[in-house]
Structure formats: structure tokens, C-alpha cells
């Protein structure tokens, strides 16, 4: 994963941090306000023509954080505090979680999101990915299926019992020796569905790998997924709730999230195909009316905002029209609703038939 070249190994990052510190002092020496110039990235805009360059992974303008504004002073304060912690982590070659960092100065940071932004700023500043900073997330992803790999020399043998959940490795860069006989990778939005498939021994009968990020996927899950795809070149399908949040989770897998736009090229999975649940599935599979919930005002607002995202227009017009259809119908449903008539419906009918029949977009 170290395609950024030599610039993101700990030694170089420490050098960059020192260079940064030096620049601050230089500014001060010259009586200039210390300032930080950050590139800005985005993965989408609301340009309806879709002719923007959001997909180019280039930065869109710069942000200058200096002591001119109070909010910038605070941001700089936070950034430096986090940078100091990161320098320590890198020097000691330890890993810290975002939560760890937050609790170093909880009163100053006031909330986790502040730390998260600083970490993102530092990634942009040092032109690296988060894990290069030795900042790890507490992984929440799960994986099962026909897969065997090593994480820092420790064996993960999922094949041994393909329907048993394993946590997604946290140190993805240390994963090696991936072996699989799977034919595809299935991403499911939620743990409950993952468990459903596990209970139905889905992977015993289907040669595949199943992954869940338990809601919005975390970075290790997405990086691990990328790693699998790069190593195994398998098709990827995604199964999410038929609601705006499910759709957003789906787009997060495929296009990345806005916060981590700077790193999107290492996190997104453009190969992903949407397996379901589509708005039309409710009719197609005879879902009882009762299982359909009306879209709330909040849902509608979210969906409307998502419709404007340029990448849908440009790269996934079919997804976009499904989202439009969802709004037209004004109803949503959860994947579990598909199991209402028959518990093993997902494992026995829905997923296999969709994959075989090409019922994905």
C-alpha cells in the first residue's frame, strides 16, 4: 500500500514534521504569523453537469490557517497538539487510536470530531494516509469466508470455518500472504445481516468472502477491502438497506467519504456493484406493505442532497435513478424485511439469484 513512495515511512514523516516546525520558527523569527497551508480535497461537488474534476484526486484550492482568526488559532493549537502526539507515536513506533489522542487533552479538544479534523489536516499537510501516522481506529469490521492471511505474522484462517466471524485486521499494512478460493466478495451494511448469513452457513455453500463495516465503514475495513480486491481481483457486491443511509454507506464504500477525501484514492472501491436492496425489490419479492416504512422528512432531505453529488451523475447514473425511485415511492425498508417470509431467504434465494442473474448495478 505504500504507493506514495518513500514519503510516508515514519522516518520521512518525522522529517516532514521537523521541517514544519522549522518553518513555524522561521516565520516567527521574521515576525510573520506562523501559518499552515492545507490543500483542500473533495470527492464530489454539486455541479449538475458532472463535468467537474472531483474525480481527479487533485486538491481544490488551499486553506491557510494562521493566527489571523481566533478559530484558526484554535485549529492551529489542536493541530500542533495532535502533531506532537503523532511525533511521539512515530518516534516510539507505537500506535494510538483517535480516542487515545482525544483523551490526552479532552478539555481542549472538547469533542472527538475536533481531533479527527486535526488528524485529517495533518494527513494533508504531511501528504500521507492516516495509518502512516500510526493512528489506528478501533476496528469494527468483520470478515468471514474463504480467506486466509497473515497480519504481522499472525495467522487469520477463515477457511477453517468459513462461517465464523473474524475481526478485520487493524494493521492492514502488515497483512500479507492472502490466499483465497472465493469467487466474489460480498459487503453487507450491517452486522445483523452478516450474522444472518453466518447462521445460514452462507459461506459454506457459496465460495465467497463476506465483510461488514457495521454501518458506515471504518478505514481499516475499507483498506482491507481494497487490499483484498487488489490481491484477489474479485468482483465486489454490496448489500445495504433500501434507505438513504444504506445508499450513503454504499457510496462511502465506492467513492469514499468527504472527510477523508484527501485519501479517497486509497480508500474507495470503484469496482463495487450494488446488489440490493433496490426500491423495486419490495414488489419483486412480494414484501408485505407493513414492512415498508415511509421516508421521513430527514430521509428526504438526505436523499435530495445526495442526488446532487456529481459522481452519481458521472459514474453511477443507474444508482442515481434508483435513489430517485426510492424518493418517488416514498418508502424504505431494511434488508431484514426480506427475511420476513422465510428466514434463510437472503442466503438461499436472494443473494445467489442476484449474483447469478446479474441483478446488480
Amino acid at each position: 500500500m505504500s504507493r506514495r513512495g518513500s514519503s510516508s515511512n515514519p522516518c520521512d514523516l518525522l522529517k516532514k514534521i521537523k521541517e514544519f516546525t522549522r518553518c513555524l520558527l522561521e516565520d516567527l523569527r521574521r515576525g510573520r504569523s506562523p501559518s499552515v497551508t492545507l490543500n483542500r480535497y473533495r470527492i464530489y461537488c454539486t455541479d449538475p453537469s458532472g463535468k467537474c474534476c472531483c474525480s481527479s484526486d487533485l486538491h481544490m484550492g488551499k486553506e491557510i490557517v494562521s493566527l489571523q482568526k481566533e478559530c484558526h488559532a484554535y485549529r492551529l493549537d489542536v493541530l500542533l497538539r495532535v502533531l506532537l502526539i503523532i511525533q511521539q507515536l512515530l518516534q516510539e513506533n507505537r500506535h494510538g487510536s483517535k480516542r487515545d489522542i482525544y483523551y490526552m487533552h479532552p478539555a481542549v479538544f472538547s469533542e472527538q470530531a475536533v481531533v479527527d479534523r486535526a488528524i485529517n489536516d495533518i494527513c494533508i499537510l504531511l501528504e500521507c494516509s492516516r495509518h502512516n501516522l500510526n493512528v489506528v481506529a478501533v476496528g469494527k469490521g468483520l470478515v468471514m469466508g474463504w480467506l486466509k492471511f497473515f497480519e504481522a505474522g499472525k495467522k487469520f484462517d477463515c477457511i477453517n470455518s468459513p462461517s465464523k466471524a473474524h475481526p478485520v485486521p487493524v494493521f492492514v499494512e502488515e497483512v500479507e500472504g492472502i490466499v483465497s478460493v472465493a469467487q466474489y466478495i460480498l459487503i453487507v451494511e450491517k452486522e445483523a445481516v452478516f450474522q444472518r448469513l453466518a447462521d445460514d452457513r452462507f459461506c459454506d455453500t457459496n465460495n465467497c468472502i463476506v465483510i461488514t463495516g457495521r454501518g458506515y465503514p471504518d478505514v481499516p475495513t475499507r483498506r482491507f477491502l481494497r487490499l483484498l480486491i487488489e490481491n484477489l481481483c474479485l468482483p465486489v457486491y454490496c448489500l445495504v438497506d433500501c434507505d438513504p443511509y444504506g445508499f450513503d454507506i454504499l457510496t462511502t464504500y465506492r467513492f469514499g467519504s468527504m472527510q477523508m477525501a484527501y485519501d479517497a484514492k486509497f480508500l474507495r472501491v470503484p469496482e463495487i456493484r450494488w446488489l440490493g436492496a433496490f426500491p423495486s425489490d419490495s414488489k419483486k419479492y412480494g414484501l408485505p406493505e407493513r414492512c415498508l416504512l415511509p421516508l421521513t422528512a430527514g430521509d428526504m432531505k438526505k436523499a435530495e442532497a445526495m442526488l446532487l453529488r456529481c459522481y452519481l451523475q458521472r459514474e453511477a447514473p443507474k444508482w442515481r435513478s434508483e435513489l430517485e425511485m426510492m424518493m418517488q415511492r416514498g418508502v424504505k425498508f431494511e434488508i431484514e424485511a426480506l427475511s420476513a417470509s422465510s428466514i434463510s431467504f437472503l442466503a438461499e434465494k436472494y443473494i445467489p439469484s442476484k449474483i447469478q442473474g446479474g441483478g446488480y448495478i
Binding site: 518525522l14 522549522r22 515576525g31 493566527l67 488559532a73 492551529l76 467519504s257 472527510q259
Partner: protein, 473 residues
């Protein structure tokens, strides 16, 4: 103190005298002599206002002619005697003016002149007789002079002589030597100096000893500014001078100043005359962006005596702000009609801001804007973090480099405190410099800084539907 008519007249006459002194290139003397005529009953006081300035052009008295209220004065016989001569005159001219005459009939009556015997000198003496109480007169003129002293009109020595009995002379307020500085000083410099004296002398309240105010000149932070009328067509060219003095008591602990700290009485002069502040500079003062200087106006009132009184919010204890404004014309002007001159609104604002900026410039960390104060509060944290970035680095070479950038010696490394202090100092300096820069540059639209508000759930901490409630099984 109610100003009676003869007192007012005295003030006006003193002002005319000052103007005559100013026009003169020489060091001049202005004497006011109050002399009781011994045998009169009620006692008649002879008031003589004499100056060694240029001779009178008489127009100023002409102007007084038409001021009716002076005529109606009762404690005065209405007779004004004027003796004047200019440097080029060969004789000394004498006039008298009877204010008891009806306004239309009032004329300057020329009396026989006296010869100067070839001597080259100039000067004017104006005298009048009044039945007023001598003490009242002394008090009124003293008070007026106190204010006048603030102006420290250059090259004018002022003296008040009171002769209660023949032979006994009391001299008051003789202009001191240090006022008569040999080197030429600008009006604004004089004003600043005079105002400092005023402030140090606690608003010239000689009689009251304030235990807290042991201020010395060094404790005062003085800023001054002069704004010129941009209107070049105005023949005389209006000027506005402003001096702002910021005084912090050295020991703000227990002693409290007799003066109310949180208020400022704005002193105003118009054409070298202590004056009630007109509306336009009043508004100007109010419209200043005080926040920019870290000040907040709590209330802003115009007192019954026409003084603007500003009450400050959040002023540190034992801190006092004094403000004086002086508006006059570049070219000395003997007032002809005693009419109020129109003051340019922007002049006052500009002058005060210049004075504030000057103060800010001269004294580090004073009058920082609220904004800068807030940013300064981060300085310590920033300095500590940056110093830690240096100190906690395991790269000795880097550390050395940083120290040298900061101008510190390698042995100053050990403690860390010095590095931190040094950085903090520099950061604060930068913030102050920034703060001094005009608002415009600071307010430049910096859309670059505004992060778009992207509200998308934080990917990892998102506690959506899988969110775990504590007691959920």
C-alpha cells in the same frame, strides 16, 4: 460654577490675547491683573488683561459689540478700555467701548494716543471694572487657566496677579519654566505634554491628594494623532488634535483611585478655547470601533455641562483612559463673529483613531483588539506545543537548529521553559503586529479559510442503527 457675564467676557478677552500671542513670533507674556480699588463701595475690581503679542486688530472687540447679553450685565459698568500698539506703530492707541449704549449706537471711541518714544514693542491691554466678588473672579479665571494650561500654548507665559490691597500682589499660575521649552514644539506635542501634566495632577485637582495615584510620567502611555481637513479649499484648514492617555496604576492591588476608573470625561478645545463638545465630534467618538482596541463602551452620555462621558466595560481595574480633543484652524484666526465653527465629523474620528493607533504602536500589548486578545490566549499553548515538538524530538541536530533560529544558546535548551517563553513572546509580537495592521487587510475575504460545512456522519464513530444502548442485549 456659574459663569457670570463679566467672567465670560474675561474668558473671551483672554482667548483673544492668546491668539495675539500665538501670531507673534516672540515669546510672549499674558498677564491678568485683578486689582481692588481701595475706596469704592461696593468694592470695584479693576481687571486688566495684557499681552505682549501683536497689537489688536480691534476686530475682535468689534465682534463683541453685537453680543447683547454682555450689555445687560449689572455688576459691570459696561466700559471697556483698550490700549494697543503693534510693532510697526509709533504710538500707543487708546480706545474705549461703552456696552451700556444701545447696540446700534455702540462704537469704539478713540482716545488720544500716547507716543512710544521710538521703542519697538507691541502689546495690548484690555481693562474693565466690575463689582463682582474678587474670589469668584479668581476662581473662575483659575479654572479656565487650568484648562488652558493643557494646551501649553507655545511661547506664551501666563500669569494671574491679584492685588487685594494696594501693594500686596499675589501671583498665581505663573507659567513654569519647563513649559517654556527652548526647542520649538508642535501644538500637538504641547497638547500631549500638557495633558500628561493634567493627568498626573489628577485632573488638576491640586487640593485633593489621591493615595493611589503616585503616577509618574513613566506610568502613562500616551498616544496622539492629528487629522487635517482634507478640504483644501477651506482657507484656514481645520485641524483636529487628539491625545489619549492610558494610565495603569503600578500597584493595582488594594488602593483605589479617587477618580472613577471606568469612566472617561472627554475634554474638548475649540480654537484654543476650552469648549463644550459639539455634536459632530460627539458622534464621531461614538462611532469609533472601540472593540478594535479591546475596549467596549458600556454607556456614553453627554453630561449636563456638555462633557462627553464614556463608561467602559471590562476595563481592567485601576486603569484609566483620558482623552482630549482640540480642534483649530491652521492659520491663526482672530474670531470675528464668535460663531461656532462647523467641525468636520471625520476629523475627530480620524484623530482619535490615530491617537489610539499611535498608543498601540508605542506601547506593546496595549489596546490590543478583543480579537487579538483572544488569539493571544492561545500563544502560551502554541508556544508550549511547539517547544515540545522541538524538545521531545530525538534529533539533536534539529534541536540545535531550532535554538539558533530562536536566537538561544544551546545550554538554554535544558529547561525548556526558556524556549517556550521565547516562542510565546514571538507569537505575541506577531499577533500584535497583525493587530496593528489596518482592519481592511484583516477583513479581506478569506473564503479559503471557511471550511464548507460538510455534515456527513463521522465514518468511524458513527453510532447509527448499530449503535449500542447500554442495556440493550
Amino acid at each position: 460654577m456659574e459663569i457670570t457675564c463679566s467672567q465670560r467676557l474675561c474668558q473671551i478677552l483672554i482667548c483673544s490675547a492668546v491668539q495675539r500671542c500665538r501670531i507673534s513670533d516672540q515669546l510672549c507674556r499674558l498677564s491678568v491683573v485683578l486689582k481692588r480699588c481701595p475706596d469704592s463701595d461696593p468694592p470695584v475690581i479693576r481687571v486688566s488683561i495684557s499681552d505682549t503679542g501683536i497689537g489688536s486688530c480691534l476686530q475682535e472687540f468689534q465682534g463683541l459689540i453685537y453680543r447683547r447679553n454682555h450689555a445687560s450685565a449689572e455688576k459691570w459698568d459696561g466700559m471697556l478700555f483698550i490700549t494697543t500698539t503693534s510693532i510697526s506703530d509709533n504710538e500707543i492707541f487708546h480706545y474705549h467701548l461703552n456696552f451700556k449704549e444701545s447696540a446700534a449706537a455702540r462704537r469704539l471711541t478713540r482716545l488720544p494716543s500716547t507716543t512710544k518714544n521710538g521703542l519697538k514693542f507691541s502689546g495690548t491691554e484690555v481693562s474693565l471694572s466690575t463689582w463682582e466678588c474678587i474670589d469668584d473672579l479668581v476662581e473662575g479665571i483659575t479654572c479656565f487657566f487650568q484648562k488652558m494650561l493643557i494646551l501649553k500654548v507655545p511661547k506664551v507665559a501666563v500669569e494671574l496677579v491679584v492685588e487685594r490691597m494696594t501693594g500686596s500682589r499675589e501671583n498665581f499660575l505663573l507659567a513654569k519654566d519647563d513649559n517654556l521649552l527652548p526647542c520649538p514644539m508642535s501644538n500637538i506635542e504641547c497638547l500631549a505634554l500638557g495633558f500628561q501634566d493634567y493627568v498626573l495632577k489628577h485632573g488638576n485637582m491640586f487640593d485633593k491628594q489621591c493615595p493611589a495615584c503616585l503616577s509618574r510620567r513613566e506610568h502613562l502611555k500616551v498616544g496622539s494623532g492629528v487629522a487635517c481637513s482634507s478640504d483644501s479649499l477651506a482657507s484656514t484648514g481645520q485641524l483636529m488634535e487628539a491625545v489619549v492617555i492610558f494610565r495603569e496604576l503600578p500597584d493595582a492591588s488594594s488602593l483605589s483611585c479617587l477618580r472613577e476608573c471606568s469612566t472617561t470625561k472627554v475634554i474638548y478645545f475649540q480654537d484654543f478655547l476650552p469648549s463644550v463638545i459639539p455634536q459632530s465630534p460627539l458622534n464621531a467618538l461614538r462611532s469609533i470601533d472601540w472593540e478594535n482596541y479591546g475596549l467596549t463602551i458600556k454607556t456614553y452620555v453627554v453630561g449636563e455641562s456638555g462633557h462627553a462621558v464614556i463608561e467602559w466595560e471590562n476595563l481592567p481595574p485601576s486603569t484609566h483612559i483620558d482623552i482630549v480633543l482640540h480642534c483649530y484652524h491652521k492659520k491663526v484666526k482672530i474670531p470675528r463673529t464668535w460663531q461656532k465653527t462647523q467641525v468636520d465629523r471625520n476629523l475627530a474620528k480620524k484623530a482619535v483613531k490615530l491617537a489610539l493607533d499611535n498608543l498601540k504602536e508605542r506601547y506593546k500589548g496595549t489596546l490590543l483588539s478583543a480579537h487579538a486578545v483572544k488569539i493571544c490566549s492561545y500563544a502560551l499553548d502554541l508556544a508550549r506545543t511547539i517547544s515540545n515538538l522541538i524538545l521531545l524530538s530525538n534529533d539533536k541536530e534539529f534541536q540545535g537548529e531550532c535554538l539558533s533560529l530562536l536566537g538561544l544558546q544551546p545550554q538554554q535548551m535544558g529547561e525548556g521553559k526558556e524556549v517556550e517563553d521565547c516562542i510565546q513572546e514571538k507569537i505575541i509580537a506577531v499577533i500584535e503586529i497583525n493587530d496593528r495592521k489596518s482592519r481592511k487587510s484583516r477583513n479581506a475575504p478569506d473564503f479559503l479559510f471557511e471550511a464548507e460545512n460538510i455534515h456527513e456522519p463521522e465514518d468511524e464513530e458513527f453510532q447509527g442503527e448499530e449503535g449500542v444502548s447500554i442495556l440493550d442485549l
